[in-house]
């Protein structure tokens, strides 16, 4: 008998270690599957010791695989096979005729296409990492575990749209669904669906997933519902789920093991040596949070000061005021007395059901009260303020920023900067002369940093309190980056595989959260200088001393952190309730009896009053009253009103552009298809009359919708590109179906030179050359009639020459009619621009006349597409605000000096729009930014700079495929309440 009859495959993934021992006939004689929690080398050692117990210290051939095994295998001098290769080998060995293999792991997603000898393997991009970790996090949001999510999903009735770009985005969509009371079963299934979308959208890239499909990896092995979602979505008929799916990759590695055999003892020795060596190597570390124990003591003492008095409720008599903060992940409640004594406080996770949590909290509150305490007023705030207010008949509600400021003022009347880091969101605002000036809210990418730390500590089996205490002792915190939690997660995995200590990871995470807040959200290099030195920090995340310390470290400011840091919204609401109370009235809040009989039901519905098709959640309460959420405009709530009158340039332009149509009754010689995408929204007023003059009928692609997007999503080559560009693929699909004689989508690198002070007049790289991407990635369509000429609209002669050549196969004309057509197009385009500008001026005049607020929603021409702007223009209209677009006011600007190179036409309009409104009263600008727009990293800074120079607020809304408007709503309402306040002050002065 040969000594080394066994081959061992060891798959070290981001969360688990899997090992398989094969005998000479390739039978599995031993397999293990362990979560390695925090330390890979320890778990690995344990695994090997078990192996030794079973087999004795005999030589075997070892082969490592998996992302975390990479550096380890190298260091201990063992064989390593990349995981996708291992999976391919295992598949080839076990089953025949597989066409596609989908493997989802804790960190990476992979797809393998088998096409005869040609095997194509793909892995997800950096941005879309962490599938398994994502499911774990979502499970904790739903108050269950991974298996629980699967069980829930079995009973789903409906799927919600959940963003599929990455885990962070998906979470931003799920939070509000939970808050609106959507069914957990539906959410669970939707979570799986978003994974399906992400995998298909990010990895298939033009290759159809069909035929016999194999499912591999932990999530797909353990979750039947996730498999089902894939099967349904891809219409799969033949599916292979291997028997040992969870260790399948390890089997592949074992099959590949062919290097010199090693004794188990020897491997264990090498692992030990690796650990020892690794402990001493210097990783990317940062300074420890505290130099000494005394330093920590002083720090702790200093922060103890900011606290409220807690008194015995039994001893208190008199009025009380209630504040409820229905946050995104937690519900917070605070009942205060006349002198801000804390009578009752409550803080709990929503666990997916904020109404129920609030009901229980209120009942508990009533238990502790006695009849000498009278609740005079109750206010709500936060994400779910309206829902809670309606459900429990509160007396009022207020935007959370205002509540937070009121609370902050209580602790430091001179506070000039408030930073709130909650579980999901960050909010910061600057205060000047008692007015909130700049409001900074995180955009989707920075969401969930707070709760990430918490779920992460839970995944290691720590209470968050203990986890954060560990950080204080850390001597060498690990740097974990700051872009977003998806990136942090993968950095943590890397640190773990390098045997970093848990305390160092904990401290590193605290630093990462703060760096994300400072450099990504607040974007200040020196907070003290830009925002002030009286800083108050709050939000549940700051109760973590490590995070607090990290903030002080990084900003070099000693800040105030109230003991009720997590309850500040509720405290502010309670203070406002007190302010609003009148001696005669009591609160209308439901009493004990009503609460006990309280029941409510939720129904899902779709509003069909316009093309936004808002998914509504209708909450029906026991007394028959209803509360509807999820609607963008008032119509969804069943209210008809007179807002249709309000000038709204986005709606106006969209209708206007689509009104350029060919005559339905005329016979044309040819038909051209034009996709309704990107710059076409701006140029249709040129192209339609142009083709009309050439006797060509124009047909457009269908209007954008989520469905249209999904139709084209499998040919998108880059998952980090902006949503408007991704939509192009769906438009092309729909256009081909309409079967025009030819499709026309030109490359236009240079735009019109509209502004004499601009440095250049480029289109952005994507707008300019997306036709090339269509051409290179959509060859499954019959694209032989796809024309994508390079054109300029700035030079008639050049245009005519190029157009003649390009159009020749379909429209053969001489130069003269082309010239005429060009002139007709230009006339029409100029009329269009003038018309938009006139409408802009009319809107501004209307606002002035009727004393209304105006928002200049500054975006790009394609932002008028309702699928891209997600109905934000309607949302603004429902707030009774006049809406103007950037290209309707840019002509009113006169200045030229800029701090940046002003070289893109559409962006020049942004700068000009900002300048145009600098002296206008009650007009503010909100910049609409598409996720993934690299140019906006430059423009946002500059637009903000222009506005702030003229004491205007800067607000930014980042949009992607996410359609959740909760955060948008908070931003807009905060902006408006500040505008109102300013207008009042103005009136008084």
């Amino acid at each position: 008998m040969r000594m080394e009859k066994y081959r061992v495959g060891i798959d070290i993934g981001s969360t688990t270690i899997k090992a398989v021992v094969l005998d000479e006939r390739d039978n599995i004689v031993h397999k293990t599957y362990d979560r390695h929690m925090s330390s890979i080398s320890i778990s690995l050692k344990a695994m090997f010791e078990r192996l030794e117990e079973r087999f004795g210290d005999i030589p075997m051939r070892f082969n490592f695989t998996g992302s975390a095994g990479l550096s380890l295998a190298k260091h201990i001098g063992a064989q390593f096979t990349q995981e996708v290769i291992s999976a391919t080998t295992a598949l080839g060995h076990h089953v025949e005729g597989i066409d596609v293999c989908i493997e989802l792991g804790g960190e990476d997603a992979k797809i393998i296409f088998f096409d005869g000898a040609n095997i194509e393997q793909r892995m997800n991009g950096t941005c879309a990492g962490g599938t398994g970790a994502f499911i774990d996090q979502m499970a904790s949001l739903l108050d269950t575990d991974a298996a629980g999510v699967n069980a829930l999903a079995k009973n789903h009735k409906k799927l919600h749209d959940i963003a599929s770009r990455c885990g962070v985005f998906a979470k931003s969509d799920i939070q509000p669904l939970l808050n609106q009371g959507a069914r957990k079963e539906d959410i669970a299934a939707s979570i799986y669906q978003s994974i399906v979308n992400q995998t298909v959208g990010g990895l298939s890239q033009g290759k159809k997933i069909r035929g016999k499909v194999a499912f591999l990896g932990g999530p797909l092995t353990f979750s039947s519902e996730l498999r089902k979602r894939f099967i349904d979505y891809l219409n799969l008929e033949d599916v292979y789920t291997p028997e040992n799916g969870e260790v399948f990759v390890a089997i592949g590695a074992a099959l590949e093991a062919n290097e010199a055999p090693l004794r188990i003892e020897e491997v264990i020795e090498r692992i030990k040596a690796y650990r020892r060596r690794h402990k001493d190597t210097i990783r990317k570390t940062i300074e420890p949070l505290f130099g000494s124990e005394e330093e920590y003591e002083a720090f702790r003492k200093r922060h103890e000061k900011a606290s409220l008095e807690r008194i015995d409720v039994g001893a208190y008599k008199g009025n009380a005021y209630l504040g409820i903060d229905a946050g995104s992940t937690t519900t917070k409640m605070l009942l205060i007395g006349e002198n801000e004594e804390i009578l009752y406080e409550y803080y709990a996770h929503n666990r997916g059901n904020p109404v129920d949590v609030t009901r229980r909290a209120l009942l508990k509150m009533y238990e502790t009260l006695h009849e000498d305490i009278v609740i005079k007023k109750a206010f709500s705030t936060g994400y779910g303020e309206e829902l809670i207010k309606n459900a429990f008949r509160l007396d009022g509600s207020e935007v959370e920023t205002i509540c937070h400021y009121n609370a902050a003022k209580y602790f430091d009347p001179e506070v000039n900067f408030v930073v709130d880091i909650g579980g999901q969101d960050m909010k910061c605002f600057k205060v000047r002369d008692g007015v909130i000036t700049t409001i900074i809210l995180n955009e989707a990418c920075s969401s969930g940093c707070g709760s990430f730390v918490e779920t992460f500590s839970e995944s290691l089996g720590y209470e968050i309190k203990d986890f954060s205490r560990l950080a204080l002792k850390s001597r060498a915190p690990v740097d974990l980056g700051s872009r977003c939690t998806v990136f942090m997660n993968s950095s943590v995995k890397q640190a773990q595989s390098e045997a970093a200590k848990t305390e160092d990871i904990s401290a590193g995470l605290a630093m990462s959260v703060i760096k994300n807040a400072l450099y990504k959200v607040i974007r200040a290099h020196d907070v003290k200088e830009e925002y002030g030195d009286r800083i108050l920090v709050q939000g549940g995340t700051f109760l973590n001393d490590a995070v607090l310390r990290a903030f002080e470290r990084e900003t070099e400011v000693e800040v105030t952190r109230p003991a009720i840091a997590g309850l500040m919204g509720a405290f502010g609401a309670a203070l406002l309730a007190r302010e609003a109370s009148q001696p005669a009235n009591h609160s209308t809040l439901l009493d004990t009896e009503e609460l006990e009989n309280f029941s409510y039901d939720t129904r899902r519905a779709t509003c069909r009053k316009c093309e936004n098709l808002c998914a509504l959640t209708v909450n029906i309460f026991g007394d028959g009253s209803r509360y509807i959420s999820g609607n963008r405009c008032e119509k969804g709530a069943g209210i008809e009103n007179g807002y249709d009158e309000l000038p709204n340039l986005y709606l106006y332009k969209y209708d206007k552009v689509l009104s350029y149509r060919s005559d339905p009754d005329k016979d044309y010689q040819k038909t051209v298809g034009i996709p309704l995408v990107l710059n076409m929204y701006e140029n249709i007023p040129f192209w339609q009359p142009f083709f009309e003059a050439l006797d060509v009928r124009v047909v457009y692609s269908d209007r954008s919708s989520k469905k249209l997007y999904e139709e084209g999503q499998d040919s998108i080559p880059s998952d980090t590109i902006c949503y408007p560009a991704k939509l192009v693929h769906g438009h092309m699909e729909s256009l081909v179906r309409k079967n025009p004689d030819f499709i026309f989508y030109p490359n236009i690198p240079f735009n019109f030179n509209e502004s004499p002070h601009a440095d250049n007049h480029y289109n952005c790289p994507i707008v300019a050359h997306y036709p090339e991407t269509v051409d290179a990635n959509m060859n499954h369509l019959d694209l032989k009639n796809f024309l994508q000429p390079y054109l300029t609209l700035n030079d008639k002669k050049k245009f005519v020459a190029a157009a003649q050549k390009a159009l020749a196969p379909h429209v053969n004309v001489t130069k003269t009619p082309l010239k005429k057509a060009f002139e007709a197009g230009m006339r029409s385009y100029e009329e269009f621009r003038e018309d938009v500008q006139k409408e802009g001026e009319r809107a501004l005049a209307y606002a002035k006349e009727n004393n209304l607020n105006t928002i200049v929603l500054a975006g790009r021409p394609y932002h008028i597409d309702p699928e891209v702007n997600h109905g934000i223009p309607k949302l603004i209209r429902s707030l009774n605000v006049v809406l103007v677009s950037e290209d309707a006011v840019n002509h009113l600007a006169h200045e030229d000096r800029l701090g940046v190179l002003n070289q893109w036409t559409y962006h020049t309009r942004l700068y000009d729009a900002a300048k145009a409104i600098k002296d206008m009263d009650r007009v503010n600008l909100v910049q609409l930014v598409s996720f993934g727009c690299g140019l906006d990293a430059i423009t946002t800074d500059e637009v903000q700079h222009i506005l702030e120079e003229h004491n205007k607020l800067y607000t930014q809304i980042k949009i992607d495929e996410i359609s959740n408007l909760g955060a948008v709503n908070i931003r807009l309402r905060s902006l408006l309440s500040t505008m109102e306040k300013e207008a009042d002050d103005h009136g008084e002065a």
Binding site: S71, R483, F487, S718, P749, T773, A776, D795, K798
Partner: protein, 424 residues
């Protein structure tokens, strides 16, 4: 001390006086070329100094002083500058910075402005920033790109490309480890001396040095155990800068493959040629077009000479610019001038056709042009050449190395498999 003078647009000018007093800091962007460019600048009377620091600290500084969504090249270059200024190795009132400005439709043209913003935030707005550009974007009285400097830079690029091309073809096979590195150190000294010469600009000298570089590399003893070739293409900074791409060149060589990086000079020719092309297609001064055309032809004349010599010496020669341009036909229009434009696609085709179908396509996270000319072309290339094995890698200061490495390992594993099955 030099007086601060301002241009019309408010920026600080680099004056003639400053030229004498100030040290000009140059960021390290391409290790085979920038050393030589700095020698060239020094010989023209600038106190130029190359920033070679790659401390972890500089990433932090970059993050602090620039927009977090800006791409990694800007963040690292700005970080490198601020880090250097803060460490106060020089009197910061006697330091100027230099940065290249391409003027194309991608955000890279804005780096100089972002750098100025960063300096302002760091309270160092008095530090002049020089724009190195070909399009006449910003001018400075103390920094004139005179023909002599241009010619010296031309030499630097030519020498740099030659050294890079040869080192990649020899280093993996050298008999005596370290022979290439030693020779490179020698050559570096020779190039420095070359610029100090009294009559630096005689064609004969340039020719002789170039030939001697090739000959000396040829003399290095090698053992040809064939290895698969892996090409690196991508956004210009992360393609060449080890700081930007986590030492990709070294990582790959350690994996046992031969690395191929297309010459840097092609990017410059592409920039000139793009401008000429745009003038033709969209209008503009004809004279400028002819000058640019001539420039491209002139440079190609010299490069072709070197390439021929490389070929004669038994090495793989890089393709000519004209050939490279023709390769893109059928894949992407040569009117695509955003970022690296058609050049990136053409380089991939060239690599695939010349025995290096294994390619790392590098790009900064969120790089716009790469969506189109890099990632956007992979499918078409794969359809056309099924043997192509391209992995796109995003670089970001927050991205985990393991993630990148895992993908590169997959590509390299496949490279070895294909290589072995081809050799039977």
């Amino acid at each position: 001390m030099a007086k601060l003078e301002y241009a019309e647009d408010g920026r600080i000018l680099f004056t003639e006086e400053m030229k004498k007093e100030y040290t000009v800091l140059v960021p390290q962007m391409a290790p085979y070329h920038f050393d030589y460019l700095v020698y060239a600048m020094r010989s023209e009377g600038y106190k130029a100094e190359l920033l070679t620091s790659d401390d972890y600290e500089l990433i932090h500084e970059g993050m602090k002083y620039s927009h977090n969504d800006i791409c990694v090249p800007a963040m690292l270059v700005i970080g490198q500058f601020i880090d250097a200024l803060k460490k106060r190795k020089h009197d910061i009132h006697k330091v100027a910075l230099i940065i290249a400005q391409t003027g194309g439709g991608c955000r890279a043209s804005n780096y100089i402005k972002i750098l100025r913003k960063a300096l302002k935030k760091a309270h160092m707005e008095f530090v002049p920033v020089i724009s190195l550009n070909a399009g006449g974007l910003e001018k400075n009285p103390g920094f004139r790109v005179r023909p002599r400097l241009i010619h010296k830079m031309h030499d630097a690029l030519l020498f740099g490309d030659t050294v890079m091309t040869l080192i990649h073809q020899i280093r993996p096979y050298e008999k005596e480890k370290g022979a290439c590195e030693r020779l490179k150190a020698e050559i570096d000294k020779d190039v420095e001396a070359y610029y100090q010469h009294r009559f630096p600009l005689t064609w004969g000298r340039s020719k002789r040095l170039c030939d001697s570089i090739i000959e000396r590399f040829q003399a290095i003893e090698t053992e040809k155990t064939p290895r698969p070739k892996v090409g690196i293409v991508g956004e210009i900074y992360v393609k060449y800068s080890p700081l930007g791409n986590n030492r990709l060149e070294k990582t790959l060589e350690n994996e046992g493959v031969e690395v191929v990086i297309p010459p840097l000079y092609d990017f410059f020719l592409y920039s000139f040629d793009s401008r000429a092309h745009d003038i033709k297609r969209y209008g503009g001064p004809r004279r400028e077009r002819w000058i640019l055309k001539f420039l491209v032809a002139y440079i190609e004349f010299w490069r072709e000479r070197t390439r021929k010599k490389i070929e004669k010496s038994g090495f793989e020669r890089p393709v000519s610019y004209k050939k490279l341009k023709s390769l893109s036909r059928g894949f992407i229009d040569v009117g695509t001038h955003i970022g690296e434009g058609w050049l990136l696609t053409a380089e991939m085709i060239d690599l695939i056709e010349h025995g290096a179908p294994n390619i790392v396509c590098t790009q900064p996270f969120g790089c716009l042009p790469n969506h189109i000319v890099g990632k956007g072309m992979i499918k078409k290339l794969k359809n056309h050449s099924p043997q192509s094995n391209i992995v796109p890698i995003d670089y970001d200061t927050s991205a985990s190395k393991i993630n990148q490495l895992n993908r590169i390992t997959l590509m390299v594993s496949n490279a070895f498999r294909n290589f072995e099955s081809e050799r039977g």
